[in-house]
Protein backbone atom coordinates (compact mmCIF):
# COMPACT_ATOMS: atom_id res chain seq x y z
CA UNK A 1 0.00 0.00 0.00
CA UNK A 2 2.82 2.38 0.78
CA UNK A 3 4.46 1.72 -2.60
CA UNK A 4 1.81 3.86 -4.29
CA UNK A 5 2.69 6.91 -2.24
CA UNK A 6 6.44 6.67 -2.74
CA UNK A 7 6.44 6.57 -6.52
CA UNK A 8 3.93 9.42 -6.70
CA UNK A 9 6.23 11.59 -4.64
CA UNK A 10 5.14 13.69 -1.73
CA UNK A 11 3.89 16.54 -3.89
CA UNK A 12 1.29 14.50 -5.83
CA UNK A 13 -2.35 14.79 -4.81
CA UNK A 14 -3.12 11.79 -2.67
CA UNK A 15 -6.51 11.45 -4.35
CA UNK A 16 -4.96 9.13 -6.92
CA UNK A 17 -4.08 6.78 -4.14
CA UNK A 18 -7.68 6.61 -3.15
CA UNK A 19 -8.87 5.95 -6.65
CA UNK A 20 -6.73 2.86 -6.84
CA UNK A 21 -8.89 1.46 -4.13
CA UNK A 22 -8.04 0.05 -0.79
CA UNK A 23 -8.08 -3.65 -1.35
CA UNK A 24 -7.09 -4.21 2.23
CA UNK A 25 -10.68 -3.32 3.12
CA UNK A 26 -11.75 -6.77 1.99
CA UNK A 27 -9.40 -8.28 4.53
CA UNK A 28 -10.44 -5.93 7.31
CA UNK A 29 -14.08 -6.68 6.59
CA UNK A 30 -13.73 -10.43 7.09
CA UNK A 31 -15.26 -10.36 10.58
CA UNK A 32 -18.11 -8.23 9.27
CA UNK A 33 -18.58 -10.64 6.38
CA UNK A 34 -18.81 -13.67 8.67
CA UNK A 35 -21.25 -11.72 10.82
CA UNK A 36 -23.38 -10.96 7.77
CA UNK A 37 -23.40 -14.64 6.80
CA UNK A 38 -24.52 -15.37 10.33
CA UNK A 39 -27.45 -13.04 9.81
CA UNK A 40 -28.43 -13.62 6.20
CA UNK A 41 -28.26 -17.42 6.15
CA UNK A 42 -30.36 -17.86 9.33
CA UNK A 43 -32.83 -15.41 7.84
CA UNK A 44 -33.32 -17.66 4.82
CA UNK A 45 -33.21 -20.84 6.87
CA UNK A 46 -35.93 -19.64 9.21
CA UNK A 47 -38.20 -19.11 6.21
CA UNK A 48 -37.55 -22.70 5.21
CA UNK A 49 -38.14 -23.98 8.75
CA UNK A 50 -41.48 -22.16 8.83
CA UNK A 51 -42.71 -24.70 6.27
CA UNK A 52 -41.45 -27.71 8.18
CA UNK A 53 -42.08 -29.77 11.24
CA UNK A 54 -38.89 -29.61 13.27
CA UNK A 55 -38.09 -30.56 16.86
CA UNK A 56 -34.30 -30.04 16.82
CA UNK A 57 -33.61 -33.77 17.21
CA UNK A 58 -34.89 -35.27 13.98
CA UNK A 59 -34.30 -33.48 10.70
CA UNK A 60 -36.98 -31.05 9.52
CA UNK A 61 -39.79 -32.48 7.37
CA UNK A 62 -41.63 -30.36 4.83
CA UNK A 63 -45.29 -29.83 5.71
CA UNK A 64 -46.15 -26.97 3.40
CA UNK A 65 -48.46 -24.31 4.76
CA UNK A 66 -49.56 -26.33 7.77
CA UNK A 67 -47.81 -24.09 10.30
CA UNK A 68 -49.49 -21.01 8.89
CA UNK A 69 -52.87 -22.73 8.77
CA UNK A 70 -52.35 -23.67 12.39
CA UNK A 71 -51.44 -20.07 13.17
CA UNK A 72 -54.67 -18.72 11.69
CA UNK A 73 -56.80 -21.06 13.76
CA UNK A 74 -54.68 -20.94 16.93
CA UNK A 75 -56.62 -18.99 19.57
CA UNK A 76 -53.50 -18.50 21.70
CA UNK A 77 -51.64 -16.94 18.80
CA UNK A 78 -54.58 -14.60 18.27
CA UNK A 79 -54.44 -13.66 21.96
CA UNK A 80 -50.71 -13.09 21.72
CA UNK A 81 -51.18 -10.84 18.71
CA UNK A 82 -53.96 -8.90 20.45
CA UNK A 83 -51.93 -8.45 23.65
CA UNK A 84 -48.88 -7.23 21.74
CA UNK A 85 -50.80 -4.82 19.53
CA UNK A 86 -52.85 -3.43 22.43
CA UNK A 87 -49.70 -2.85 24.42
CA UNK A 88 -47.96 -1.18 21.49
CA UNK A 89 -50.84 1.10 20.58
CA UNK A 90 -51.33 2.21 24.17
CA UNK A 91 -47.74 2.39 25.41
CA UNK A 92 -46.02 4.01 22.42
CA UNK A 93 -48.31 7.07 22.03
CA UNK A 94 -48.40 7.72 25.78
CA UNK A 95 -44.61 7.40 26.11
CA UNK A 96 -44.02 9.70 23.16
CA UNK A 97 -46.51 12.28 24.40
CA UNK A 98 -44.95 12.34 27.87
CA UNK A 99 -41.44 12.46 26.38
CA UNK A 100 -42.35 15.35 24.11
CA UNK A 101 -44.17 17.23 26.86
CA UNK A 102 -41.25 17.02 29.27
CA UNK A 103 -38.73 17.84 26.53
CA UNK A 104 -40.72 20.99 25.75
CA UNK A 105 -40.76 21.97 29.42
CA UNK A 106 -37.02 21.41 29.73
CA UNK A 107 -36.34 23.26 26.50
CA UNK A 108 -37.85 26.46 27.85
CA UNK A 109 -34.66 27.08 29.74
CA UNK A 110 -34.70 25.65 33.21
CA UNK A 111 -32.14 25.93 35.92
CA UNK A 112 -30.95 22.44 36.80
CA UNK A 113 -31.60 21.06 33.32
CA UNK A 114 -28.86 18.46 33.70
CA UNK A 115 -30.30 17.19 36.94
CA UNK A 116 -33.81 16.80 35.56
CA UNK A 117 -32.56 15.24 32.37
CA UNK A 118 -30.60 12.61 34.30
CA UNK A 119 -33.49 11.86 36.62
CA UNK A 120 -35.83 11.30 33.69
CA UNK A 121 -33.32 9.46 31.54
CA UNK A 122 -32.00 6.96 34.08
CA UNK A 123 -35.19 4.84 34.28
CA UNK A 124 -35.11 4.15 30.54
CA UNK A 125 -31.77 2.39 30.95
CA UNK A 126 -32.97 -0.01 33.61
CA UNK A 127 -36.66 -0.32 32.70
CA UNK A 128 -36.25 -3.69 31.00
CA UNK A 129 -34.00 -5.20 33.67
CA UNK A 130 -35.12 -8.12 35.77
CA UNK A 131 -34.72 -6.13 39.00
CA UNK A 132 -37.09 -3.39 37.88
CA UNK A 133 -39.73 -5.76 36.54
CA UNK A 134 -39.71 -7.57 39.88
CA UNK A 135 -39.96 -4.21 41.62
CA UNK A 136 -42.93 -3.31 39.44
CA UNK A 137 -44.68 -6.51 40.36
CA UNK A 138 -44.21 -5.63 43.99
CA UNK A 139 -45.30 -2.02 43.98
CA UNK A 140 -48.32 -2.90 41.87
CA UNK A 141 -49.10 -5.96 43.99
CA UNK A 142 -52.47 -6.08 45.73
CA UNK A 143 -50.95 -4.74 48.95
CA UNK A 144 -48.38 -2.68 47.08
CA UNK A 145 -47.56 1.01 47.21
CA UNK A 146 -49.85 1.96 44.36
CA UNK A 147 -52.94 0.58 46.03
CA UNK A 148 -51.87 2.03 49.38
CA UNK A 149 -51.66 5.38 47.65
CA UNK A 150 -55.07 4.97 46.01
CA UNK A 151 -56.53 3.97 49.37
CA UNK A 152 -55.71 7.45 50.70
CA UNK A 153 -58.35 8.75 48.29
CA UNK A 154 -60.73 5.96 49.24
CA UNK A 155 -60.19 4.09 45.98
CA UNK A 156 -59.85 0.36 46.21
CA UNK A 157 -57.23 -0.47 43.59
CA UNK A 158 -57.54 -3.57 41.46
CA UNK A 159 -55.23 -6.55 41.68
CA UNK A 160 -52.87 -5.02 39.15
CA UNK A 161 -50.80 -8.15 38.76
CA UNK A 162 -53.51 -10.75 39.21
CA UNK A 163 -56.47 -9.25 37.35
CA UNK A 164 -56.30 -10.03 33.61
CA UNK A 165 -57.95 -6.68 32.89
CA UNK A 166 -55.14 -4.75 34.54
CA UNK A 167 -51.95 -6.79 34.20
CA UNK A 168 -51.15 -5.46 30.75
CA UNK A 169 -51.77 -1.90 31.90
CA UNK A 170 -49.22 -2.45 34.65
CA UNK A 171 -46.65 -3.23 31.97
CA UNK A 172 -47.76 -0.15 30.05
CA UNK A 173 -46.90 2.01 33.07
CA UNK A 174 -43.48 0.38 33.15
CA UNK A 175 -42.99 1.26 29.51
CA UNK A 176 -44.08 4.86 30.06
CA UNK A 177 -41.67 5.06 33.00
CA UNK A 178 -38.90 4.57 30.43
CA UNK A 179 -39.84 7.61 28.33
CA UNK A 180 -36.43 9.21 28.98
CA UNK A 181 -34.61 7.87 25.92
CA UNK A 182 -37.18 9.39 23.57
CA UNK A 183 -37.12 12.58 25.63
CA UNK A 184 -33.37 13.02 25.17
CA UNK A 185 -33.78 12.64 21.41
CA UNK A 186 -36.64 15.16 21.39
CA UNK A 187 -34.55 17.55 23.40
CA UNK A 188 -31.69 17.32 20.94
CA UNK A 189 -34.17 17.90 18.12
CA UNK A 190 -35.63 20.97 19.81
CA UNK A 191 -32.14 22.44 20.12
CA UNK A 192 -31.77 22.39 16.36
CA UNK A 193 -34.74 24.66 15.76
CA UNK A 194 -33.35 28.17 15.22
CA UNK A 195 -34.48 30.54 17.88
CA UNK A 196 -35.14 33.32 15.40
CA UNK A 197 -38.21 31.50 14.08
CA UNK A 198 -39.84 31.94 17.45
CA UNK A 199 -38.68 35.53 17.71
CA UNK A 200 -40.15 36.31 14.31
CA UNK A 201 -43.37 34.53 15.23
CA UNK A 202 -43.81 36.43 18.48
CA UNK A 203 -43.16 39.71 16.71
CA UNK A 204 -46.01 38.73 14.43
CA UNK A 205 -48.10 38.09 17.50
CA UNK A 206 -48.32 34.27 17.39
CA UNK A 207 -49.36 32.68 20.68
CA UNK A 208 -47.19 29.93 22.19
CA UNK A 209 -49.80 27.36 21.15
CA UNK A 210 -49.77 28.64 17.59
CA UNK A 211 -45.97 28.63 17.66
CA UNK A 212 -45.98 25.02 18.77
CA UNK A 213 -48.16 23.88 15.89
CA UNK A 214 -46.65 26.16 13.26
CA UNK A 215 -42.95 25.91 14.15
CA UNK A 216 -42.08 23.29 16.73
CA UNK A 217 -44.17 20.38 15.49
CA UNK A 218 -43.28 20.60 11.78
CA UNK A 219 -39.58 21.10 12.46
CA UNK A 220 -39.55 18.33 15.03
CA UNK A 221 -41.48 15.90 12.84
CA UNK A 222 -38.39 13.99 11.59
CA UNK A 223 -37.39 13.34 15.17
CA UNK A 224 -40.92 12.37 16.11
CA UNK A 225 -40.94 9.99 13.17
CA UNK A 226 -37.64 8.46 14.25
CA UNK A 227 -38.93 7.94 17.79
CA UNK A 228 -42.18 6.50 16.51
CA UNK A 229 -40.49 3.94 14.26
CA UNK A 230 -38.08 2.88 17.00
CA UNK A 231 -40.86 2.79 19.60
CA UNK A 232 -43.11 0.59 17.49
CA UNK A 233 -40.36 -1.86 16.56
CA UNK A 234 -39.21 -2.08 20.19
CA UNK A 235 -42.68 -2.51 21.65
CA UNK A 236 -43.71 -5.22 19.24
CA UNK A 237 -40.67 -7.24 20.36
CA UNK A 238 -41.21 -6.95 24.12
CA UNK A 239 -40.07 -10.06 25.93
CA UNK A 240 -38.20 -9.71 29.22
CA UNK A 241 -40.88 -7.64 30.94
CA UNK A 242 -43.58 -10.15 30.08
CA UNK A 243 -41.44 -13.15 30.95
CA UNK A 244 -40.33 -11.93 34.35
CA UNK A 245 -43.69 -10.37 35.18
CA UNK A 246 -45.62 -13.56 34.56
CA UNK A 247 -42.93 -16.08 35.47
CA UNK A 248 -42.77 -17.16 31.83
CA UNK A 249 -46.44 -18.10 31.56
CA UNK A 250 -47.94 -14.96 30.05
CA UNK A 251 -50.52 -14.99 32.82
CA UNK A 252 -52.84 -14.06 34.45
CA UNK A 253 -55.17 -15.72 31.94
CA UNK A 254 -52.80 -15.03 29.01
CA UNK A 255 -53.23 -11.29 29.52
CA UNK A 256 -49.47 -10.70 29.21
CA UNK A 257 -48.83 -13.37 26.61
CA UNK A 258 -46.72 -11.24 24.28
CA UNK A 259 -46.04 -12.56 20.82
CA UNK A 260 -42.36 -13.07 21.50
CA UNK A 261 -43.15 -14.90 24.71
CA UNK A 262 -45.49 -17.23 22.85
CA UNK A 263 -42.80 -17.78 20.22
CA UNK A 264 -40.36 -18.66 22.98
CA UNK A 265 -42.80 -21.10 24.56
CA UNK A 266 -43.46 -22.83 21.25
CA UNK A 267 -39.84 -22.95 20.15
CA UNK A 268 -37.87 -23.47 23.31
CA UNK A 269 -40.26 -25.10 25.73
CA UNK A 270 -42.28 -27.29 23.38
CA UNK A 271 -39.45 -27.47 20.82
CA UNK A 272 -41.86 -26.93 17.96
CA UNK A 273 -39.20 -25.05 16.01
CA UNK A 274 -41.15 -25.15 12.78
CA UNK A 275 -44.18 -23.41 14.24
CA UNK A 276 -41.97 -20.96 16.14
CA UNK A 277 -40.24 -20.04 12.87
CA UNK A 278 -43.61 -19.44 11.26
CA UNK A 279 -44.52 -17.17 14.19
CA UNK A 280 -41.23 -15.33 13.82
CA UNK A 281 -41.94 -14.74 10.14
CA UNK A 282 -45.43 -13.51 10.85
CA UNK A 283 -43.94 -11.06 13.33
CA UNK A 284 -41.27 -10.02 10.87
CA UNK A 285 -43.87 -9.32 8.19
CA UNK A 286 -46.04 -7.36 10.62
CA UNK A 287 -43.09 -5.23 11.74
CA UNK A 288 -42.01 -4.72 8.13
CA UNK A 289 -45.56 -3.71 7.20
CA UNK A 290 -45.78 -1.26 10.11
CA UNK A 291 -42.45 0.27 9.19
CA UNK A 292 -43.38 0.51 5.52
CA UNK A 293 -46.73 2.15 6.34
CA UNK A 294 -44.87 4.51 8.64
CA UNK A 295 -42.53 5.54 5.88
CA UNK A 296 -45.34 5.93 3.35
CA UNK A 297 -47.51 8.00 5.66
CA UNK A 298 -44.49 10.05 6.73
CA UNK A 299 -44.58 11.85 3.38
CA UNK A 300 -47.72 13.58 4.53
CA UNK A 301 -46.63 14.74 7.93
CA UNK A 302 -42.87 14.64 8.21
CA UNK A 303 -41.26 17.88 7.13
CA UNK A 304 -37.61 17.97 6.14
CA UNK A 305 -36.07 21.39 6.38
CA UNK A 306 -33.34 20.92 3.80
Amino acid sequence: MTAATTDQGVGARPRRVRERGDRIAYVLLIPWFIGMLFTVIPFAVSLYLAFTDYDLLTSPSWIGLENFQHFVSDPKAATAARVTLTYTFVAVPISLAVALGIALLLNRGVRGLRFYRSAFYLPSLIGASVAIVMLWRSIFGYAGVVNQFLAIFGIEGPGWTTDPDWALMTLVTLSVWGFGAAMVIFLAGLRQIPRMYYEAASVDGATPVRQFFAITLPLLSPVLFFNLVLGLIGSLQTFTQAYVFSGGTGGPADSTLFFNLYLYQQGFQRFDMGYASALAWVMFLVIAAFTAINFLVSKYWVFYDD
Binding site: M1, T2, T5, T6, V10, R18, D22, R23, I24, L28, L29, P31, W32, I34, M36, F38, T39, P42, F43, V45, S46, L105, R108, G109, V110, R111, G112, L113, Y116, A119, F120, P123, L125, I126, S129, V130, A131, I132, M134, L135, R137, S138, V145, W177, A181, V184, I185, G189, I233, L236, Q237, Y243, V244, G267, F268, M273, S277, A280, M283, I287
Partner: protein
Protein backbone atom coordinates in the same frame (compact mmCIF):
# COMPACT_ATOMS: atom_id res chain seq x y z
CA UNK B 1 5.48 13.00 11.59
CA UNK B 2 6.49 16.65 11.18
CA UNK B 3 4.59 16.80 7.91
CA UNK B 4 1.50 15.64 9.63
CA UNK B 5 1.90 18.26 12.26
CA UNK B 6 2.38 21.10 9.78
CA UNK B 7 -0.35 20.17 7.34
CA UNK B 8 -2.49 18.91 10.13
CA UNK B 9 -3.02 22.11 12.04
CA UNK B 10 -6.28 23.17 10.46
CA UNK B 11 -7.83 19.72 10.17
CA UNK B 12 -6.73 18.81 13.60
CA UNK B 13 -8.34 21.78 15.20
CA UNK B 14 -11.58 21.05 13.38
CA UNK B 15 -11.31 17.45 14.47
CA UNK B 16 -10.86 18.73 17.96
CA UNK B 17 -14.00 20.78 17.58
CA UNK B 18 -15.89 17.73 16.48
CA UNK B 19 -14.59 15.77 19.41
CA UNK B 20 -15.57 18.63 21.65
CA UNK B 21 -19.03 18.64 20.16
CA UNK B 22 -19.67 15.00 20.92
CA UNK B 23 -18.05 15.27 24.29
CA UNK B 24 -19.59 18.68 24.65
CA UNK B 25 -21.09 19.00 28.08
CA UNK B 26 -23.38 21.91 27.58
CA UNK B 27 -22.92 23.63 24.28
CA UNK B 28 -26.37 25.10 24.81
CA UNK B 29 -26.25 28.60 26.13
CA UNK B 30 -29.29 28.78 28.24
CA UNK B 31 -31.52 31.75 28.56
CA UNK B 32 -34.08 31.41 31.28
CA UNK B 33 -37.47 32.36 29.95
CA UNK B 34 -40.76 33.21 31.59
CA UNK B 35 -41.91 35.23 34.57
CA UNK B 36 -40.91 34.09 38.05
CA UNK B 37 -44.38 32.62 38.50
CA UNK B 38 -44.26 30.44 35.40
CA UNK B 39 -40.71 29.43 36.20
CA UNK B 40 -41.82 28.33 39.65
CA UNK B 41 -44.70 26.38 38.16
CA UNK B 42 -42.39 24.70 35.70
CA UNK B 43 -40.09 23.54 38.49
CA UNK B 44 -43.07 22.35 40.49
CA UNK B 45 -44.23 20.15 37.60
CA UNK B 46 -40.71 18.85 36.95
CA UNK B 47 -39.96 18.12 40.59
CA UNK B 48 -43.34 16.46 41.03
CA UNK B 49 -42.80 14.23 38.03
CA UNK B 50 -39.20 13.57 39.05
CA UNK B 51 -40.40 12.35 42.43
CA UNK B 52 -42.99 10.07 40.83
CA UNK B 53 -40.28 8.71 38.53
CA UNK B 54 -37.73 8.11 41.23
CA UNK B 55 -40.14 7.00 43.92
CA UNK B 56 -40.07 3.32 42.89
CA UNK B 57 -36.28 3.33 43.18
CA UNK B 58 -36.35 5.05 46.56
CA UNK B 59 -38.97 2.59 47.70
CA UNK B 60 -36.76 -0.29 46.65
CA UNK B 61 -33.76 1.10 48.53
CA UNK B 62 -35.93 1.50 51.60
CA UNK B 63 -37.40 -2.01 51.22
CA UNK B 64 -33.92 -3.48 51.03
CA UNK B 65 -33.30 -2.27 54.59
CA UNK B 66 -36.59 -3.51 56.03
CA UNK B 67 -37.35 -6.92 57.50
CA UNK B 68 -39.23 -8.96 54.89
CA UNK B 69 -42.42 -8.89 56.95
CA UNK B 70 -42.38 -5.08 57.01
CA UNK B 71 -41.87 -4.51 53.28
CA UNK B 72 -45.57 -4.21 52.52
CA UNK B 73 -46.78 -3.14 55.97
CA UNK B 74 -44.39 -0.37 56.89
CA UNK B 75 -45.40 2.41 54.51
CA UNK B 76 -42.74 4.88 55.62
CA UNK B 77 -39.77 5.39 53.33
CA UNK B 78 -37.50 5.44 56.37
CA UNK B 79 -37.68 1.95 57.85
CA UNK B 80 -39.17 1.73 61.34
CA UNK B 81 -36.96 -1.24 62.04
CA UNK B 82 -33.70 -1.41 60.15
CA UNK B 83 -32.54 -4.75 58.87
CA UNK B 84 -29.05 -4.79 57.43
CA UNK B 85 -28.92 -8.55 57.16
CA UNK B 86 -30.85 -8.52 53.86
CA UNK B 87 -27.63 -7.85 51.99
CA UNK B 88 -25.67 -10.65 53.60
CA UNK B 89 -28.49 -13.18 53.48
CA UNK B 90 -29.44 -12.23 49.93
CA UNK B 91 -25.82 -12.52 48.86
CA UNK B 92 -25.81 -16.22 49.70
CA UNK B 93 -29.49 -17.05 49.21
CA UNK B 94 -29.08 -18.67 45.80
CA UNK B 95 -27.18 -21.77 44.79
CA UNK B 96 -23.96 -19.81 44.31
CA UNK B 97 -22.90 -16.66 46.13
CA UNK B 98 -23.67 -13.40 44.41
CA UNK B 99 -20.05 -12.74 43.47
CA UNK B 100 -20.16 -15.69 41.08
CA UNK B 101 -23.03 -14.13 39.15
CA UNK B 102 -21.49 -10.65 39.26
CA UNK B 103 -18.24 -12.07 37.96
CA UNK B 104 -20.04 -13.88 35.14
CA UNK B 105 -21.88 -10.73 34.14
CA UNK B 106 -18.65 -8.78 34.21
CA UNK B 107 -16.86 -11.31 31.99
CA UNK B 108 -19.69 -11.17 29.46
CA UNK B 109 -19.78 -7.38 29.52
CA UNK B 110 -16.01 -6.98 29.09
CA UNK B 111 -15.86 -9.46 26.22
CA UNK B 112 -18.77 -7.76 24.48
CA UNK B 113 -17.22 -4.33 24.92
CA UNK B 114 -13.87 -5.45 23.50
CA UNK B 115 -15.57 -7.25 20.63
CA UNK B 116 -17.84 -4.37 19.70
CA UNK B 117 -15.17 -1.70 19.96
CA UNK B 118 -12.72 -3.43 17.68
CA UNK B 119 -14.98 -5.17 15.19
CA UNK B 120 -17.41 -2.27 14.79
CA UNK B 121 -14.71 0.39 14.57
CA UNK B 122 -12.66 -1.43 11.94
CA UNK B 123 -15.80 -2.11 9.92
CA UNK B 124 -16.87 1.50 10.24
CA UNK B 125 -13.38 2.61 9.23
CA UNK B 126 -13.64 0.63 6.01
CA UNK B 127 -17.05 2.06 5.20
CA UNK B 128 -16.26 5.63 6.18
CA UNK B 129 -12.66 6.13 5.11
CA UNK B 130 -11.61 3.57 2.51
CA UNK B 131 -12.57 3.32 -1.14
CA UNK B 132 -13.28 -0.07 -2.62
CA UNK B 133 -15.76 -1.76 -4.92
CA UNK B 134 -19.07 -2.68 -3.34
CA UNK B 135 -18.67 -0.33 -0.41
CA UNK B 136 -22.07 1.33 -0.75
CA UNK B 137 -23.87 -1.94 -1.23
CA UNK B 138 -22.16 -3.51 1.77
CA UNK B 139 -22.97 -0.55 3.97
CA UNK B 140 -26.59 -0.58 2.83
CA UNK B 141 -26.79 -4.29 3.65
CA UNK B 142 -25.48 -3.55 7.14
CA UNK B 143 -28.12 -0.90 7.66
CA UNK B 144 -30.82 -3.25 6.39
CA UNK B 145 -30.00 -5.77 9.11
CA UNK B 146 -30.96 -3.10 11.66
CA UNK B 147 -34.58 -3.48 10.62
CA UNK B 148 -34.49 -7.24 11.03
CA UNK B 149 -36.16 -8.38 14.25
CA UNK B 150 -33.66 -10.56 16.07
CA UNK B 151 -36.28 -13.24 16.60
CA UNK B 152 -36.41 -14.12 12.92
CA UNK B 153 -32.84 -15.33 12.91
CA UNK B 154 -33.00 -16.67 16.43
CA UNK B 155 -34.08 -20.24 15.75
CA UNK B 156 -31.59 -21.11 13.01
CA UNK B 157 -28.84 -19.46 15.05
CA UNK B 158 -29.85 -21.52 18.04
CA UNK B 159 -29.76 -24.66 15.92
CA UNK B 160 -26.28 -23.83 14.63
CA UNK B 161 -24.94 -22.98 18.08
CA UNK B 162 -26.34 -26.16 19.53
CA UNK B 163 -24.89 -28.27 16.71
CA UNK B 164 -21.52 -26.61 17.35
CA UNK B 165 -21.83 -27.66 20.97
CA UNK B 166 -21.90 -24.07 22.15
CA UNK B 167 -24.92 -24.43 24.43
CA UNK B 168 -23.96 -23.76 28.02
CA UNK B 169 -20.89 -21.78 27.03
CA UNK B 170 -20.38 -18.04 26.66
CA UNK B 171 -19.60 -18.38 22.96
CA UNK B 172 -23.12 -17.64 21.65
CA UNK B 173 -23.24 -14.60 23.92
CA UNK B 174 -19.86 -13.14 22.96
CA UNK B 175 -18.72 -14.31 19.53
CA UNK B 176 -21.34 -12.23 17.65
CA UNK B 177 -19.86 -9.07 19.21
CA UNK B 178 -16.55 -9.82 17.51
CA UNK B 179 -18.26 -10.09 14.13
CA UNK B 180 -19.49 -6.47 13.94
CA UNK B 181 -23.01 -7.84 14.27
CA UNK B 182 -24.33 -4.65 15.84
CA UNK B 183 -25.29 -2.56 12.83
CA UNK B 184 -26.38 0.31 15.04
CA UNK B 185 -22.88 0.77 16.43
CA UNK B 186 -21.33 0.46 12.97
CA UNK B 187 -23.70 3.18 11.80
CA UNK B 188 -22.90 5.42 14.77
CA UNK B 189 -19.15 5.07 14.19
CA UNK B 190 -19.43 5.59 10.43
CA UNK B 191 -21.31 8.83 11.05
CA UNK B 192 -18.66 9.96 13.46
CA UNK B 193 -15.67 8.99 11.30
CA UNK B 194 -17.15 10.68 8.27
CA UNK B 195 -16.97 13.91 10.21
CA UNK B 196 -13.22 13.63 10.66
CA UNK B 197 -11.31 15.64 8.03
CA UNK B 198 -10.05 13.60 5.09
CA UNK B 199 -6.81 15.64 5.05
CA UNK B 200 -5.70 13.86 8.19
CA UNK B 201 -5.73 10.59 6.39
CA UNK B 202 -3.98 12.00 3.35
CA UNK B 203 -1.27 13.45 5.56
CA UNK B 204 -0.83 10.09 7.21
CA UNK B 205 -0.48 8.42 3.83
CA UNK B 206 2.13 10.88 2.69
CA UNK B 207 4.03 10.05 5.81
CA UNK B 208 3.89 6.43 4.76
CA UNK B 209 1.08 5.04 6.89
CA UNK B 210 -0.82 2.14 5.36
CA UNK B 211 -4.58 1.94 5.89
CA UNK B 212 -4.15 -0.24 8.95
CA UNK B 213 -1.64 2.09 10.56
CA UNK B 214 -3.88 5.06 9.73
CA UNK B 215 -6.76 3.31 11.43
CA UNK B 216 -4.75 2.52 14.51
CA UNK B 217 -2.77 5.73 15.01
CA UNK B 218 -4.94 8.41 13.44
CA UNK B 219 -8.60 7.47 13.23
CA UNK B 220 -9.04 5.33 16.32
CA UNK B 221 -7.66 7.90 18.79
CA UNK B 222 -9.89 10.60 17.33
CA UNK B 223 -12.91 8.32 17.58
CA UNK B 224 -12.56 7.88 21.34
CA UNK B 225 -15.76 9.77 22.28
CA UNK B 226 -17.87 7.65 19.95
CA UNK B 227 -16.12 4.50 21.17
CA UNK B 228 -16.99 5.52 24.72
CA UNK B 229 -20.62 5.72 23.66
CA UNK B 230 -20.39 2.26 22.14
CA UNK B 231 -18.70 0.86 25.25
CA UNK B 232 -21.30 2.23 27.64
CA UNK B 233 -24.25 1.14 25.54
CA UNK B 234 -22.69 -2.30 25.21
CA UNK B 235 -22.12 -2.52 28.93
CA UNK B 236 -25.71 -1.66 29.77
CA UNK B 237 -27.19 -3.93 27.10
CA UNK B 238 -24.98 -6.84 28.09
CA UNK B 239 -25.52 -6.35 31.82
CA UNK B 240 -29.31 -6.20 31.43
CA UNK B 241 -29.56 -8.93 28.81
CA UNK B 242 -31.93 -11.60 29.95
CA UNK B 243 -33.12 -13.33 26.82
CA UNK B 244 -29.89 -14.71 25.35
CA UNK B 245 -28.57 -16.11 28.63
CA UNK B 246 -32.01 -17.63 29.25
CA UNK B 247 -31.77 -19.33 25.89
CA UNK B 248 -28.19 -20.54 25.95
CA UNK B 249 -27.27 -21.12 29.60
CA UNK B 250 -28.68 -23.82 31.82
CA UNK B 251 -25.82 -24.32 34.23
CA UNK B 252 -26.26 -22.24 37.41
CA UNK B 253 -22.53 -21.73 37.68
CA UNK B 254 -22.54 -19.78 34.41
CA UNK B 255 -25.56 -17.58 35.13
CA UNK B 256 -25.18 -13.83 34.84
CA UNK B 257 -26.94 -11.62 37.39
CA UNK B 258 -30.37 -11.24 35.70
CA UNK B 259 -30.92 -14.99 35.39
CA UNK B 260 -29.85 -15.52 38.99
CA UNK B 261 -31.95 -12.66 40.30
CA UNK B 262 -35.10 -13.99 38.74
CA UNK B 263 -34.91 -17.03 40.97
CA UNK B 264 -35.81 -14.88 43.94
CA UNK B 265 -39.19 -14.50 42.35
CA UNK B 266 -39.96 -18.01 41.19
CA UNK B 267 -38.49 -20.15 43.93
CA UNK B 268 -38.92 -18.27 47.17
CA UNK B 269 -42.47 -17.04 46.84
CA UNK B 270 -43.40 -14.15 49.06
CA UNK B 271 -41.12 -14.70 52.00
CA UNK B 272 -37.79 -13.23 50.91
CA UNK B 273 -38.71 -9.68 49.93
CA UNK B 274 -35.91 -7.95 51.81
CA UNK B 275 -33.04 -10.01 50.34
CA UNK B 276 -34.62 -9.88 46.91
CA UNK B 277 -34.65 -6.09 46.86
CA UNK B 278 -31.18 -5.93 48.38
CA UNK B 279 -29.80 -8.04 45.56
CA UNK B 280 -31.86 -6.14 42.99
CA UNK B 281 -30.04 -3.02 44.11
CA UNK B 282 -26.69 -4.78 43.87
CA UNK B 283 -27.60 -5.77 40.32
CA UNK B 284 -28.53 -2.21 39.35
CA UNK B 285 -25.57 -0.43 40.91
CA UNK B 286 -23.07 -1.09 38.10
CA UNK B 287 -25.50 0.25 35.50
CA UNK B 288 -26.27 3.32 37.59
CA UNK B 289 -22.55 3.83 38.18
CA UNK B 290 -21.76 3.64 34.49
CA UNK B 291 -24.65 5.97 33.82
CA UNK B 292 -23.19 8.66 36.05
CA UNK B 293 -19.66 8.24 34.72
CA UNK B 294 -20.63 8.18 31.07
CA UNK B 295 -23.77 10.26 31.01
CA UNK B 296 -22.64 12.77 28.44
CA UNK B 297 -21.46 10.06 26.05
CA UNK B 298 -24.78 8.33 26.38
CA UNK B 299 -26.87 11.43 25.94
CA UNK B 300 -24.79 12.81 23.09
CA UNK B 301 -24.68 9.36 21.53
CA UNK B 302 -28.42 8.84 21.36
CA UNK B 303 -28.96 12.47 20.47
CA UNK B 304 -26.63 12.20 17.45
CA UNK B 305 -28.13 9.00 16.11
CA UNK B 306 -31.58 10.50 16.33
CA UNK B 307 -30.67 13.51 14.29
CA UNK B 308 -29.82 12.40 10.81
Amino acid sequence: MTDLQVTGIAPRSSARNLVKRLRGGEAYTEEITGTPATRFLRHLVLIGLGLVMLYPLMWMVSASFKPSTDVFNDTSLIPTTWDFTNYSSGWSALEYPMETYLYNSMVLAVLNIIGNIFSCSITAYCFARLRFRGRRLMFAATLATMLLPSHVILIPQYVVFSKLGWINTYLPLTVPAFLASNAFFVFLLVQFMRGLPMELQDAARIDGCGPLRTYWSVILPLTTPALATVAIFTFIASWNDFFSPLLYLTDQELFPVPLALRQFMSAQGASQWGPMFAMSIVSLLPVIGFFFIGQRYLINGIATTGMK
